[in-house]
């Protein structure tokens, strides 16, 4: 219990108390406190347990760089947020926070036994320790490690919050509202352009919030900006990433700082900002020092102690020792002293310290130990003293203290600069990388540009120590429990690049992304390798700058708004009939229409039997449709499709097969020639946009000489398939102006006329093998025509059928579904569609590829039918096929099942499969090994029903 509330000072409102709980215990703070400052004021130094060793950990920093004090905040069901940094959690009434990664409690953590055996958890221990036996990884090691090593728990229920999103444009975007950012915003605002100033903290001011001397200026500047209409100030907003051309994404936290009762509206808002100029004023983060015991609760950054004292009115200890290698540590010590914090000593590894700092310390009666380094810290859950030694190895002295502040110099925050692909240069004075060049209209100001006077210091956070590096317990990355010796070990084991050292040690890979550890790790690696840091490189910064909720990134795009759901004009009717749906591409399609207590199998069997024996009605409106118009329309299609089109007479239809230039099937569909210069094309439901794009591509870029227009008409036409021996009788009374007789209207033809008094393009086509019509009517009449056909159909015992029945019926006929029976490596010949390739055509898309050596080679996978020996067994689609079931594992797979159904018509199962050399295997028995048994099946022609096609005529 060493932290306490100072008698005065800070920006907190001492008249307004805030009650909250931490680990179930009632606590209080003031309005304006962070969770960290309120708990420190109560003397709480222990905040969490470390990731790997479960070591007790306290506060390190006062900002988003905090690696240790991660907490879970619970705002009710589905509103539990783990891994929040205690210094960045604003205090509000009723806040419920808990510590993480401890069992059973923070103070007595049983798993901390890890710490005792920490010698067994060196760098790469996951890779080394748990390699054998292999099977034990999944069942034994991984579950144990997952329990031991961890962060907070994710919520298990749905997030009830909603998240807002917006676009914004401005002439100048300033990221970071410290003194440099505010100055940049004022300057930009003076020119009259729109300015957005964003800052991640509860109030704007950045470093000035921890410097009372700047408060008057800060208040005036803030008021001046707030008064300008063209300036938008966004506090509690984190710029999480800079993307191309000054596109910055920022997340504004709208309600988390309020009590649950006060919170209204969206929880967060994602800002997508396009700015003419971006000014980065992101400041700098102080670096910890690397010495034995630097992770004992109470050892923290000097800048953090300064912020707690001057901004929150909290002293982090009663006897505070400052360990500095940088002037800023002295400045902070003096500021703390002035604020009433007892500074017991300033230790500095350097001997040549600026005389004015030494003089000021002497005046403040602070003991100074130049040339010394802290070599040990007493205490485990709180600091109980420190040992210092001359140059780390010489004369030893013990200091009585309850807090140790580290001043290891500053690391400019260049994250967004790096997102923008800005280059960095090493600066010896800073001991850090500074922004160098960029092609964006982007600049850095203030500390992140290296343009801030923190004083001078040593570069390199590793303090000299009496112990050799490999025995040291000095931490570099607090959140991932990486020690200096782990980095030494990685180098010893042959890792040279910082990218490899990072991944092997996990240095900088925790949720803080190495904000306090990257440069120390780099410099330790540099020291061990005896090579300059610039030769070892710097790991790449990637968005987000700090952890970001998925909610804000998703915005409104969830649940029903996740993606558009396309519905046909007949969809409502199907819903009223109790259809069960499936999604096909973005379409919602009726899959089957159960009657009474029917399951899918029963409904599909009934629908299939009805189509084959009477008539079925099917909503085929989702078929892709393209209107191809122009004098060169036939020539264009002739070049696109494998089939000949020029010879097709108006009024006739043709099955078209579309290949890619690589020779593989990418789409198919029946198309009709309505007039010499007009075609009505159909594509697969999922392929419509892709096919249109491909056709536009050829038309615009390869054959711009052709006079053709392509128009997507998918949603302009409702398509009602009427299939079955009674199909003609169903539509006959509704159709006007079209002779439906078989002679006048043969299979694969199209007629224009009227149905139910509206225009129709009536196709006589069949995807079922039965006599069939596809009634195309303008979409606005689709529902009316459907209902008329349905009413007529009912007189003939019609059934409405869905996509599942459509699949079974077409499989009985061996008709393929592109994307199910083909997979992007199937040629027309492989699919048994060689007949659809125009042999006399000089060229079409993909023709040349059909002569490639591996396309004409024997042994290609070919589409065949499979009949299981047990007729009631339905194979699993995707199941692998082998020739010899007794061969040793891994077996040689010769193909897979592409389509498989129970056929009610045939009273047995049927399947289609792609099998190597399949057409030469007719009659052969092949085997399908499944987890519980091996199924045998005979290879047959993929045509199971009415091979002669007599049923097409009803």
């Amino acid at each position: 219990m060493s932290g306490f509330r100072l008698a005065d000072g800070g920006r907190i409102d001492r008249r307004t108390k805030r009650n909250f709980t931490f680990d179930g215990k009632a606590q209080w703070g003031y309005a304006g406190d962070s969770l960290a400052s309120a708990l420190l004021a109560q003397g709480q130094m222990l905040f969490g347990r470390s990731f790997k060793y479960h070591r007790p950990r306290g506060i390190l920093g006062a900002g988003v760089e905090e690696p240790n004090a991660l907490v879970t905040v619970d705002r009710g069901p589905g509103r539990r947020t783990p891994n929040l940094r205690a210094p960045s959690v604003a205090l509000h009434d009723g806040l419920v926070a808990t510590s993480q990664n401890r069992f059973p409690t923070l103070k007595t953590d049983l798993i901390a036994v890890n710490n005792v055996f920490s010698a067994f958890f060196p760098a790469g221990f996951y890779n080394k320790t748990f390699m054998w036996p292999r099977a034990a990884w999944e069942k034994v090691y991984e579950p144990i490690i997952r329990r031991l090593a961890g962060l907070g728990d994710s919520p298990t229920t749905r997030d009830p919050d909603h998240y807002d999103a917006t676009y914004a444009h401005c002439e100048t975007l300033v990221v970071g509202a410290g003194p440099a950012g505010i100055a940049a915003a004022l300057e930009a605002a003076a020119s009259g352009g729109r300015v957005i100033l964003i800052d991640e903290q509860e109030e704007i001011g950045g470093g000035a919030l921890s410097d009372p001397a700047q408060w008057a200026w800060l208040g005036e500047a803030t008021a001046k900006l707030a008064a300008m209409d063209h300036v938008t100030i966004l506090p509690r907003t984190t710029a999480i990433g800079h993307y191309h051309q000054n596109f910055v994404v920022a997340a504004e936290r709208l309600t988390d700082h309020l009590s649950v009762d006060e919170a209204e509206g969206a929880r967060e808002k994602l800002w997508r900002i396009r700015a003419g100029e971006v000014v980065l004023a992101m400041g700098a983060i102080e670096r910890p020092l690397v010495f034995e015991g630097n992770d004992v609760p109470g050892v923290m950054l000097a800048s953090a102690a300064r912020t707690f004292a001057l901004r929150y009115g909290v002293a982090v200890g009663r006897k505070v020792v400052v360990m500095a290698v940088h002037d800023s540590g002295w400045r902070d010590a003096l500021a703390l002293h002035k604020a009433g914090v007892n500074i017991a000593a300033i230790v500095d590894l350097r001997r040549d310290i600026a005389p004015e700092l030494v003089e000021a310390a002497r005046e403040a009666r602070i003991a100074c130990h130049p040339g010394y380094a802290v070599t040990a810290v007493a205490g485990s859950q709180a600091v109980k003293g420190a040992t210092i030694a001359l140059a780390g190895v010489g004369k030893v002295q013990k200091l009585d203290c309850d807090a140790v502040l580290m001043a290891g110099g500053w690391t400019p925050t260049v994250h967004l600069w790096s997102h923008a692909k800005g280059s960095l240069r090493w600066d010896d004075n800073w001991g850090a990388f500074l922004p160098d060049k960029t092609h964006e209209n982007l600049r850095c100001v203030g500390a992140c540009a290296g343009a801030w006077d923190f004083g001078k210091g040593l570069a390199g956070g590793l303090l000299p120590a009496p112990k050799p590096l490999h025995e040291s317990k000095a931490f570099v990355d607090f959140q991932n429990d990486v020690k200096a010796r782990d980095i030494g070990l990685a180098v010893q084991e042959g890792f040279r690049s910082i990218e490899h050292i990072k991944r092997y040690t996990t240095n900088g890979m925790a949720t803080d992304q190495g904000k306090t550890s990257n440069l120390n790790g780099l410099q330790i690696a540099s020291g061990v390798l005896h090579r300059p840091v610039t030769e070892i490189g710097l790991t790449t910064f990637r968005p987000p700058y700090t952890p970001q909720s998925f909610g804000a990134i998703l915005g409104h795009h969830k649940e029903a708004l996740f993606q558009p759901l396309r519905k046909t004009v007949i969809d409502d009717w199907a819903e009223a009939q109790g259809a069960v749906y499936e999604n096909v591409a973005q379409w919602r399609r009726a899959r089957y229409f159960p009657k009474g207590s029917e399951d899918m199998d029963a409904a599909v069997a009934r629908e299939c039997r009805t189509v084959r024996s009477a008539v079925g009605v099917f909503d085929a409106s989702t078929l892709g449709k393209i209107e191809v118009v122009g004098p060169d329309a036939a020539e264009f299609l002739n070049r696109m499709y494998t089939n000949p089109w020029k010879s097709l007479e108006p009024g006739r239809c043709r099955y078209g097969l579309l290949l890619g230039e690589h020779g593989f099937i990418i789409d198919d569909g029946v198309s009709a020639r309505l007039a010499p210069d007009r075609f009505h094309l159909t594509t697969t439901t999922g392929g419509a946009a892709r096919v249109l794009n491909m056709m536009e591509d050829y038309l615009q870029t390869e054959w711009s000489d052709l006079d053709v227009w392509l128009t997507s008409t998918t949603e302009q036409w409702a398509v009602i398939a009427v299939q079955g021996p009674k199909a003609r009788r169903v539509i006959e009374p509704l159709v006007e102006g079209i002779d439906l007789s078989p002679e006048a209207f043969p299979h694969m033809s199209v007629r224009e006329g009227k149905i139910c008094g509206v225009d129709t393009r009536l196709f006589r086509v069949s995807f079922t093998g039965e006599l069939g019509f596809e009634v195309n009517v303008p979409a606005e009449h689709g529902r009316m025509v459907w209902e008329a056909i349905w009413a007529e159909g009912e007189k003939h015992g019609a059934a409405a059928y869905g996509t599942e029945t459509m699949h079974v019926l077409r499989a009985e006929k061996g008709f393929i579904i592109v994307g199910q029976d083909t997979d992007g490596t199937v040629t027309p010949d492989d699919a048994g569609l060689g007949w659809a390739v125009g042999k006399k055509k000089p060229d079409f898309v993909g023709k040349r590829s059909l002569a490639r050596p591996d396309i004409v080679a024997p042994g290609r996978k070919q589409l065949v039918g499979l009949l299981t020996d047990d007729p009631q067994l339905v194979l699993e689609e995707g199941a692998q096929i082998v020739a010899d079931p007794n061969q040793p594992v891994p077996m040689t797979m010769i193909g897979h099942v592409t389509s498989s159904y129970h056929s009610a018509t045939l009273g047995r199962s049927i399947a289609m499969a792609l099998v190597a050399g399949g057409r030469d295997r007719m009659g052969e028995t092949l085997h399908i090994p499944m987890p519980d048994r091996t199924i045998s099946a005979k290879v047959v022609t993929p045509m199971f029903y009415d091979a002669e096609g007599s049923r097409l005529n009803g």
């Binding site: 993307y243 191309h244 051309q245 596109f247 997508r272 396009r274 692909k421 092609h439 230039e661 690589h662 794009n693 536009e696 591509d697 615009q700 870029t701 390869e702 711009s704 000089p842 060229d843 023709k847 040349r848 590829s849 490639r852 050596p853």
Partner: protein, 90 residues
């Protein structure tokens, strides 16, 4: 998100309106049957993949629908220029 200048609309529009179309200036042979297997392989699959200036195709799918060509630096993603399909390589 990139801003891309459509040479037909003569406007810079956000990337979401466009679809990338692969390397530019790879003309389909007038008569592919005259191509050897090696030449056809080259046409189908071999791309330059440069570090730096890259000539590439884009389509203003959710705009005018036109295909056009662009020169983009593959390191910086900066567009040097965009120009209409059919115009000479820039």
């Amino acid at each position: 998100m990139l801003l891309i200048h459509c040479p037909y609309c003569e406007e810079a529009r956000p990337e979401v309106e466009f679809v990338y179309g692969g390397e530019a200036h790879i003309a389909r042979p007038v008569d592919p049957s005259t191509y050897s297997d090696e030449q056809w392989e080259e046409f189908l699959y071999i791309r330059s993949n440069p570090r730096g200036r890259h000539h590439e195709r884009w389509r203003h799918t959710h705009g005018c629908g036109r295909f056009f060509n662009a020169v983009r630096d593959t390191v910086t993603d900066v567009f040097e220029t965009t120009y209409k399909a059919g115009e000479a390589r820039k």
